[in-house]
């Protein structure tokens, strides 16, 4: 069900939500969080779809603040409510404020936040200088950006790091969870006493490559070299090599779904490690709402271990 509300207010939206719930018998009691999305509207549908899919694991109210750069000047608010089949396991409220700068965003959404439940804000297509200082960031426990949108590798991450506050996180970091899990799992069973060096290969302006190298540097406490060579078609991380006293541990991306694992004294394996859709990354971010301190340490301290291979 889609309900359009023209020239409306938060109070009217709220009333309409309650009314629709009573009519449709759609119960909103099981919602675990409010998910705010601040977007310029270009990828609105794609972003809502991803959030809807993630809501299958985390039932939530999704509030989208869609502010196109070139809007009309008359101040006001249009809104759209999506429920039931049009909203997956969630309920979606899309707010389209007009008249730039006249709306104080926190005041706009406050009435639509679920009582007591945590608030998470996602900036899918912009990277605020400091998420925690924004109007929406101040009312959120958890703030998500995607540094891949900035597309400038290490220097981009350095600016993200300057604005970092506990509770911030980055989808570029969730993109490498699979790699990190496999590396840690491999060291769980290998009889290794020492790791001499580590190197990461991949597209250098991809922040995930840098975060992976930074994580290795942070945990191992020594330099990690980043090799800017990646074959055509491999977008992010291409290969990770750990040189240990028992031999080399190597993970190499073969295609969009598989990674080859080579471990000393074992046959090579093809691992199923598919590139993940946006929804899966969001679902991972929403699983734990406490600050991800490891991410913070890697971002603010780990990156200094990253060396570009000459």
């Amino acid at each position: 069900m889609i309900i359009e509300l023209k020239d409306t207010t938060s109070t009217q939206i709220q009333k309409r939500l309650i009314q629709a719930r009573e009519e449709g018998g759609a119960v909103a009691l099981g919602r675990v969080l409010t998910f705010l999305i601040h977007t310029d509207g270009a990828k609105e549908e794609k972003v809502i779809q991803a959030a809807n899919d993630a809501s299958r694991e985390h039932p939530m109210r999704i509030v989208v603040i869609s502010e196109p750069a070139s809007g009309t000047d008359t101040p006001g608010l249009d809104a759209e409510i999506r429920l039931g089949g049009d909203a997956g396991a969630s309920e979606v409220v899309i707010l389209r404020p007009t008249g730039q700068g006249d709306n104080y965003l926190a005041g706009l959404v406050n009435g639509l936040l679920l009582p007591d439940a945590p608030v998470v804000t996602w900036w899918p297509d912009q990277c605020p200088e400091c998420m925690a200082d924004t109007e929406l960031g101040q009312i959120s426990q958890r703030r998500i950006l995607d540094s891949l949108e900035m597309g400038s590798g290490l220097s981009g991450l350095e600016s993200v790091a300057r604005g970092y506050r506990p509770g911030d996180t980055d989808l570029a970091w969730s993109r490498i969870t699979g790699w990190r899990t496999q590396l840690a799992a491999t060291l769980d069973y290998l009889d290794v006493t020492r790791i001499d060096s580590a190197r990461v290969a991949g597209v250098p302006d991809n922040p995930s490559v840098m975060l992976l190298a930074g994580w290795l540097g942070h945990t191992l406490g020594h330099d990690v070299s980043v090799d800017a060579t990646a074959p055509m078609g491999i977008g992010g991380v291409h290969e990770v090599v750990l040189v240990t006293d028992a031999g080399e541990v190597r993970l190499t991306r073969e295609d969009d779904h598989t990674v080859q694992l080579s471990v000393p004294n074992q046959p090579d394996f093809s691992l199923f490690l598919p590139r993940r859709p946006l929804a899966s990354l969001l679902a991972e971010e929403l699983r734990r709402l406490a600050p991800d301190t490891v991410y913070g340490e890697v971002l603010t301290g780990g990156l200094r271990w990253v060396r570009h291979a000459s």
């Binding site: 039932p59 840690a184 769980d188 046959p267 394996f269």
Partner: protein, 506 residues
């Protein structure tokens, strides 16, 4: 490398994956293997929780080759796995599927098994880590463990592990359980024996610990001062059907109460453990099971029955004695109820009523904590018995969740109250499908984590509670009959009436 430098304790994103290993299934031709184990293994693989070299070896008396075995497994996954079958995941898994033909008393079969496992170590890097799943009757345990021992399969080299997984029934009484335990523990060390109680792998059962100890609003009232009594029910609407051969001579008490229901009692009644580690949780469960008071006068503390023929839900069904393979003079009960008291300060005066049966009103498993009446002077409804007691119900299956029942004012000018419910459904709050119990349990075995597996001591304590009842029933004639689709025999109702209580309708 110990400790693993990449595993920072605060890094909670990294899942723990099972290391290189294989699982050998004895009795692979049975229902359990194809309906539960194989699909669970597939779902683990699809979730990326298994090592890519993970291998499954079926052992049985069929002349299947590896190809036929693979085809059967693919069918079973397509029919029963949670995830849709993906060629890529299946192919990785299929590379490690083997079938070994052999009987349990045939050394050549075990020799072939040893060869296949050595082959897997070399080709698939299973690193000498092997788990043996006994999906076979307990009478076969000695034969299989000895076969494994003779083929040199029970002990690995340094750094390798061998584990054995066994299913209920863990014996028929305390003595036979001890004997069974000896057979297995003669060959495998106690910490390598994993007793599967699939109930303990269920999300809702693990949620009992979360509900009680991750919240602060329940624990203060979780005692006999506020709780009137606790009812634990496991009802099935089906009869014994194809399990007749196994079921006769076992009965509801041994089949269900000894393991599932007493485990649920232990989780409901235990004190807070010092940590959620296996040994700490187990210590608390053992303590509370040991605190269960021995039953005094059995007839007033236990009731049993068997279902009669009749109409159930629009269908005529056979009585227990008319089922195929059940002798006319069978004294096996298909319904059992017992009243237990826990001898400690927390529970003194609040009894636990446990009941389990077949052909009952509907399929349901739940724990109901029933609270004492509120003072009646303000509301006549309480005095008149119109208002039930407050209850907190943990629904284990189906429709997993938690329900609270309490009184609320009826809208209108008069002060009238009636009972309402507040409901938490796993299916509403978390719409993602929950992992099947077997997934969690198999993964735990492969990782060597055992918080959800009872040790022999718990099995022994459970039998100690039940043995006197079983001995008494054996001296009596046939159990009392009850009509299918009802909630058990009249004597079970009497059990509560004596205490001025009634069974809830679950």
């Amino acid at each position: 490398m110990k400790p693993n430098p990449l595993r920072l304790p605060e890094d909670r994103r990294l899942a723990r994956i099972a290391g290189p290993s294989s699982l050998v299934i004895f009795g692979v031709t049975g229902d359990l293997a194809f309906k539960k184990l194989i699909p669970a293994i597939y779902d683990l693989a699809a979730g990326g929780l298994l090592h890519p070299g993970f291998s499954v070896v079926g052992y049985g008396r069929r002349d299947w080759d590896d190809e036929q075995f693979r085809a059967l497994i693919k069918e079973s996954i397509a029919a029963h796995a949670r995830e849709d079958i993906s060629e890529q995941v299946f192919n990785t898994l299929a590379g490690g599927l083997r079938f070994v033909e052999g009987t349990f008393d045939d050394d050549s079969g075990f020799t072939r098994l040893a060869e296949v496992l050595a082959e897997l170590d070399a080709e698939r890097g299973t690193a000498g880590n092997h788990a043996y799943y006994f999906s076979i009757p307990p009478s076969q345990f000695p034969v299989v463990t000895e076969g494994l021992a003779r083929a040199g399969l029970t002990q690995g080299a340094k750094g390798q592990w061998r584990r054995v997984i066994i299913e209920k029934p863990f014996g028929q009484d305390e003595a036979s359980a001890a004997e069974l335990n000896q057979t297995v523990e003669r060959v495998f060390p106690a910490e390598a024996v994993f007793r599967i109680d699939h109930y303990l792998g269920k999300e809702t059962v693990q949620n009992i610990l979360a509900l009680r100890f991750a919240n602060s609003m329940y624990e203060p009232i979780w005692n006999a001062h506020y709780v009137d009594h606790v009812q634990i029910t496991m009802a099935e609407d089906i009869g014994v059907g194809s399990r007749a051969g196994y079921y006769d001579g076992i009965g509801a008490a041994r089949d269900v109460i000894q393991n599932h229901l007493l485990q649920l009692l232990a989780l409901t009644a235990m004190e807070e453990p010092v940590s959620l580690k296996a040994e700490d949780v187990r210590a608390e469960k053992e303590k509370v099971l040991a605190a269960v008071a021995p039953l005094g006068h059995i007839p007033s503390a236990a009731a049993r029955g068997h279902y009669l023929s009749g109409w159930q839900g629009g269908q005529h069904v056979k009585g227990y004695l008319e089922e195929d393979g059940i002798p006319d003079d069978s004294r096996t009960e298909t319904y059992a109820a017992i009243r237990l008291e826990v001898n400690n300060r927390r529970w003194q005066g609040a009894p636990f009523y446990l009941r389990a049966g077949k052909r009952l009103g509907r399929r349901v498993t739940e724990i109901a904590v029933v609270f004492k009446d509120a003072p009646a002077h303000l509301f006549p409804e309480i005095k008149q018995g119109q208002l039930g007691q407050n209850a907190l119900v943990i629904r284990v299956q189906p429709d997993e969740g938690v329900t609270m029942r309490f009184a609320s004012k009826v809208p209108g000018p008069a002060m009238q109250v009636r009972n309402v419910t507040m409901d938490f459904g796993y299916g509403h709050a978390f719409t993602e499908t929950s992992p099947e119990a077997y997934e969690r349990l198999i993964l735990d075995v492969l990782r060597g984590d055992a918080p959800l597996f009872p040790r022999h001591r718990e099995v022994e304590l459970s039998w100690r509670i039940l043995d006197p009842v079983m001995r008494y029933w054996e001296e009596q004639g046939q159990p009392e009959g009850y009509l299918p689709g009802t909630w058990g025999p009249a004597s079970a109702d009497q059990l509560l009436v004596r205490d001025n209580r009634v069974w809830r309708r679950p």
